[in-house]
Each structure stands twice: as C-alpha cells, then as structure tokens.
C-alpha cells in the first residue's frame, strides 16, 4: 500500500463509486442545514416527490437571519418579514421531513459551524456537508467537510451522496512556536496573505507542523474555517489526543463500545509518512505578527506594524487596479500606517471567532479597560446559546459590558448582516469575521479582519493597535 494523505484516506473510506473520468459519488455522514440555503432544496424534494435518504444524518439550526437582541418572542421577534419567513420555513421543513432542529429559543441554537463540533454532531472521520462555504471548519476534527450549493443540499438529502471529483492535496506546514499575542486567526490570515485567495483552488489543504500540533481544537476550527478564503473547499488537521479529548462526552459523540471502536479507528486519521502532496507551503510560525486586513479581499492583509500598500509599487496591472479599487472603497491612502486607521465599530463573533476561547481572550484584553469614546458600537456575539451560557458562567459577559460592549444573543450577526446588525456605509470595523468583501458587513461598510484580541485592543484604542502592547 502506498502512503496516503489524510484527505486520500477520508476520500477512499467514503467512495461509493467512481466513473472513468474521475467523477465520483461519495457518501455523506452528516448534513448541517440552515435557513438561507435550504428552502429551495426542500422545495425541490416536494416537487419531485422525493424523500430524504437518511433523516437522522441531518441537523438544522437557524443562524444567518436570527436577531441578536431580544429573543423572548421566538421567531415572532424577527421584525423583518422576509427574514422571518425564511426562519419559519426552516422550522416547517424540519417538522415536515422529521429533521432535528435547534430552533430559536433552544439553548443549543447557534451558528451551524459552532453547533456541529460543540454537540459532537461532527466527528473525526466523518464526511460533513452544509450549504455554506465555511463548512471547511469541521475539518479541524479530521473530518472531510465540504461547503456545497443548494442543488447539492437537495442531492445529499435525496441520495446521501455528493457528486465530486477528487481534489489535489496541499500541505501548509507552519513550524516553530507562535509569539505571545499571535493567534490562530493571525496564522490563517498570514497564510492567505502568502498564497492568495485563489492559492488553494482545487485543493484540500492539510494544516500541519508544530504550530497546529500545539494549537487547541478551537484554534484549529478557526484556521480550517478560513481555508475557503484561501480558495480551498476543504481544510484539515490530523487527529491527535487533543481531538479525541475534545470530542469525548459530547451529546452526539459515540458512547460505550462504540466510543472504544471509534477511538481505535480515529488513530489512523493522519497523513502517512512519505505521502505525496501536490503543493507544499512552509511558514515559520515564530515570524508571524498580529495581522490586520486593509482591503476588500482576505489576501489584502498586512502586519499590524505595516502600512497600507501603494498601487504604484505593484508591477501587475490587474493587481494594481485591484489595490486602487480597494483603497477607494476603504477610504484609505497608500502608505498610511495601519495603526492610524480608526476602528469606529467592533464586532467579535462569527463562525470564525465566536467560541469560548475567543471570548476569554478578548475579555483578557478588556478587563479593567474601557471602549474608546470614538467607537460607535462594539458588539460581542457568542456563536451558540451554550457558548453564551458558558461565558456568562465565567463572568465574561460582565467584563464586556463594563468595558462598553453590547453582549448579544447567538447568530451570524454582523459577519454578513442578514439580520439587523449592519455596519453603516463609510465606517471602519475591527471584525473577527472572515470576509472583508465590499458590502459584506453592510452596504458601504469597511471591514478589517483581525483576531478577537486585536479587536478588543482596537476597541480600547479607537484605532488599530498591536495587541502585544495590551497584554
């Protein structure tokens, strides 16, 4: 047997059949559903009279449209009628087809990519899909997780399979140890800055090296979450003791004999010595600095002590044009120090950074400090009801509130502003989310991607700062 990568192993273990041209059917163990990309899929099933193949593999929760303010009215508390219909439609579809839903008001409701791992509903060795590009998140557990479109959501519901062609293998190895104040978010932003938003197109990325071995599972979830921002549908980290320890005892995790069998099987979920990768990228972890994005694509990122780039220094015409367009949109001048860029809004949340460790880290910076007067709104939005509950049990909510943050209810919130949490036009936002595209957080809004620690420090200063001066 030749040496295999982790991706090869997961692929082979789920291969149902393969055509001559490489088009394959792979079996799906878990589908997560949310309200935005599922209604047309359920409608498709109804129109063709098809039934879900294995109902118990599906798990639904609303997240994109959910308000983060008062939830006491349940779905009725959504003021926007179009949003409300979408959330209601998810509930109706779940009931009609017999799918488990963590609905609004359920403590387990939250962002799908926070809920899956938290519940043990996504496990090592599984294939996981969701109609959401950030499904790559679950690869942090050694699962093969794909973001898919709505037609594919319907296809998985009806057949339990996904039509796929095998991707290429890419290894991103980050060696050494991170400096104090440098987080998983900085690591993944630095990677995207290096390989670009199309660098991983057509590849499954495995994150390897000492930095990821030393990283917590929540940190790995943050890194894999943004694999898609490097163009890769799939991000992976090999299973180790940390993975097994994280998964154990969660509501959907295997129990008893099943647990023992699973743990034995999961030991093999690593790339073999000598396995072939089509592309290998190496970074020295000790050289990574806290990152902040300046432009309108996640690859437009610099060290906090860096400067806004100058299009005049870019030889490639299409790229120089892209830089100029981004500067115009962001209202920034070339060569401005990043530390002089204001943070008028601050958002700590999203499927990238809304887990308990993120709030602990931000609270550590905020404790005993106040949000600057120039900051118009600072939001802390936990990724699930259980994260919120845990944070409150630790008293973190009080630290945020005393500092001047609003402590909200779980959901996607201002990451993409499908609910009422919108970044106004022209305002700069220190955001722990994943995309700084034009209009992403609100039409005309100006997003700067950072870690939770960096967002907290920016909130205190009113502009971007090096968090290491605040630790």
């Amino acid at each position: 047997m030749s040496a295999k990568t982790l991706y090869d192993k997961l692929w082979d273990a789920h291969l149902v059949r393969e055509e001559e041209d490489g088009t394959a059917l792979i079996y799906i163990d878990r589908q997560l559903l949310h309200e935005v990309t599922s209604p047309q899929a359920f409608e498709g099933l109804r129109m063709t009279g098809r039934k879900p193949w294995r109902i118990d593999t599906n798990l639904a929760t609303p997240d994109h449209n959910v308000p983060t303010t008062d939830l006491t009215g349940g779905v009725a508390s959504i003021k926007d009628p179009v949003s409300r219909i979408q959330v209601e439609t998810l509930g109706m579809n779940a009931r009609e087809f017999g799918i488990t839903e963590f609905a609004m008001g359920d403590i387990r409701q939250g962002i799908v990519h926070v809920v899956g791992p938290e519940e043990g509903a996504t496990l090592p060795g599984m294939t996981v899909v969701c109609g959401d590009s950030h499904t790559a998140t679950h690869g942090a557990l050694g699962a093969l997780a794909h973001g898919i479109g709505t037609s594919e959501v319907e296809h998985v519901l009806a057949t339990q399979c996904l039509i796929q062609k095998k991707m290429k293998n890419m290894l991103i190895r980050v060696n050494g140890q991170l400096q104090k104040g440098v987080t998983p978010k900085d690591v993944v932003l630095a990677i995207i800055g290096k390989i670009g938003t199309a660098g991983g197109n057509g590849h499954a990325i495995e994150f390897g090296g000492q930095v990821f071995r030393d990283m917590s599972i929540e940190g790995r979830l943050t890194v894999c979450n943004m694999a898609i921002e490097a163009g890769a549908r799939v991000g992976l980290v090999a299973v180790d003791e940390r993975t097994v320890e994280y998964v154990q005892g969660r509501p959907y995790s295997p129990k008893g004999d099943d647990w023992d069998k699973a743990v034995v099987a999961w030991v093999d979920l690593t790339s073999d010595e000598g396995a072939h990768f089509d592309k290998v990228i190496e970074l020295d972890g000790s050289l990574i600095e806290p990152q902040v994005s300046w432009g309108t694509s996640p690859e437009m990122v610099v060290d906090i002590n860096g400067f806004v780039p100058d299009p005049a220094k870019e030889p490639d015409v299409v790229k120089a044009d892209g830089i100029q367009r981004a500067l115009d949109y962001m209202g920034l001048k070339a060569n401005t120090p990043m530390k002089e860029v204001p943070a008028e809004y601050v958002f700590i949340g999203s499927c990238t950074n809304s887990r308990i460790e993120d709030f602990r880290a931000a609270a550590h910076v905020l404790k005993g400090r106040k949000v600057a007067d120039s900051v118009e709104l600072a939001l802390a939005v936990p990724g699930s009801g259980l994260v919120k509950q845990q944070a409150e049990a630790e008293g973190l909510d009080k630290i945020f509130i005393e500092a001047g943050f609003e402590w909200r209810n779980p959901g996607c919130s201002m990451c993409l502003a499908m609910n009422a949490d919108k970044l106004p036009a022209g305002k700069h936002c220190a955001s722990t989310s994943n995309r700084n595209f034009e209009g992403r957080q609100g039409a005309g809004g100006r997003t700067h991607l950072v870690s939770p620690e960096m967002a907290a420090a920016a909130a205190v200063a009113g502009h971007f700062v090096d968090v290491r001066d605040y630790l």
Binding site: V16, R17, D21, G22, T23, L25, Y27, D29, V36, T37, Q40, E43, T48, R50, W53, N65, D80, V82, I85, L123, M126, G131, D132, S133, T135, G147, I148, G149, T150, S151, E152, H155, A158, T159, Q160, C161, I163, K165, T197, N201, G202, G231, R233, P254, K255, A262, A265, S297, D321, G322, R325, L416, M418, R435, F437, E438, G439, R440, A443, G444
Partner: protein, 212 residues
C-alpha cells in the same frame, strides 16, 4: 434543466479579478425562498446608486451609468467575460441563479472558485476556463468592437470568434453530458441506489457509531 448545445451571443466584460459572490448577489436578496427572480439584483451594489432591498421596485432605481451591464452596448449579453478567481467567497447558489435569471448562459474566465464552478453546472451555466493570455485577447476584442459576439459549441468543445478562429476548451465528460442532455443529477445518482445501499451496509459495519 434546459439543454445547452450551441449558442451565439453578445459578450459583456467584467474586468476585475476576484469577483466574489457577495458582489454577484448581496446578502439581503438571499432571504428569498425561491430560485428565480434574482436577475434584477445581479451585481446590485455596482449596478445601482442606492441600496436595494428585496421589495424594491428595481425598474425605478437610479442606475450607475458607468457600470458595464448598464451600458447600452452590452444589453442582451448572454456571455460574461471575467478575470481570475471569479465567484470566490460564499457557497450561495443564488449567485448562479442571479446570473442565469439575468440572462447569462456562459461565463469565461482564467479561473473560477471551486464551489461557484460546481454550482454553475447545476443550473445550466457553462463556466469555461481559458488561458489568461486568451482571456486577455478576448477582453481587447470586446472593448474594441461594439456588438462583439462569440459562438460557444459544447458539442465540439470550441469557442468560435467572429473571424472564424476557434478556441478549444476543456470540460469534464460527465458535466458535458449533463449539460448537453439537460440531465438531473439526483435522478442519475438514484440510478445507482444499489451501490449506495451496498456501501452503506459496509460502512455501518466499519463505523457503527455513525449509525447509532
């Protein structure tokens, strides 16, 4: 799904790299529970002066005249010429739905984001990958000539320029077959349900905890 075999149509140029799905169809329009009606909001933030809402009457909204799709010479275009990494970002199938609803059947670019690329095929849009130098040449042609049309022939896998020059393109045999015949993926997969059941039985033995 409609069959696509051969078509000749006007080309519109989208001359910027990394066009993301948030730009193709902004988030406020994802609240619909239908697959149709997204065309008027394709590239909404670039196309209109104001911020559109799902219930806006788009026919009365102020247009950004300089935006490519608002220029009279590109009205009726069915082929979109684009730059690298077109369709990056979110998995929203609303992006190809919006392109299709607007009237685009073909998108030509040096590269596409993976999920968007897949989503196109499910909706009868052909995403065609050509070398960057060829795409550059097509951009020059489109800018130089009002009413510039291309013929796309899926059967022979060739794009034919107005001067008769032929540009071959690659496409997966399976996807080509589905587009040519307007086939439904789910129906095709369910034809293999015995294979799926056999796999499932084996998988259950090997990983019983996934069936608990």
């Amino acid at each position: 799904m409609d069959k696509i075999v051969k078509m000749t149509a006007l080309v519109a140029p989208m001359d910027r790299a990394n066009v993301d799905t948030d730009a193709i169809i902004p988030k406020q329009f994802l609240k619909s529970i239908k697959r149709t009606g997204f065309g008027p909001n394709l590239f909404d933030e670039w196309r209109y002066e104001d911020v559109g809402q799902p219930d806006s009457d788009n026919s009365h909204r102020p247009l950004r005249k300089e935006f490519v799709l608002n220029q009279p010479r590109y009205q009726g275009a069915k082929i979109l010429l684009a730059r690298e990494n077109f369709g990056c970002g979110s998995s929203r199938e609303h992006a190809p739905w919006a392109l299709k609803d607007y009237g685009f059947d073909v998108v030509i670019a040096p590269s596409f984001a993976d999920i968007f690329f897949n989503n196109c095929f499910k909706n009868g849009i052909m995403p065609l990958v050509l070398d960057e130098s060829i795409v550059d040449g097509l951009f020059q042609d489109v800018f130089a000539q009002v009413g510039y049309e291309l013929t796309v022939d899926l059967e022979s896998q060739k794009i034919i320029k107005p001067n008769g020059e032929k540009i071959p393109f690659e496409i997966d045999a399976f996807r080509r077959h589905c587009l040519l015949n307007g086939l439904d993926d789910i129906g095709l997969t369910l034809a293999h349900q015995d294979d799926i059941k056999a796999y499932e039985a084996k998988h259950k033995q090997e990983a019983p905890w996934l069936f608990a």
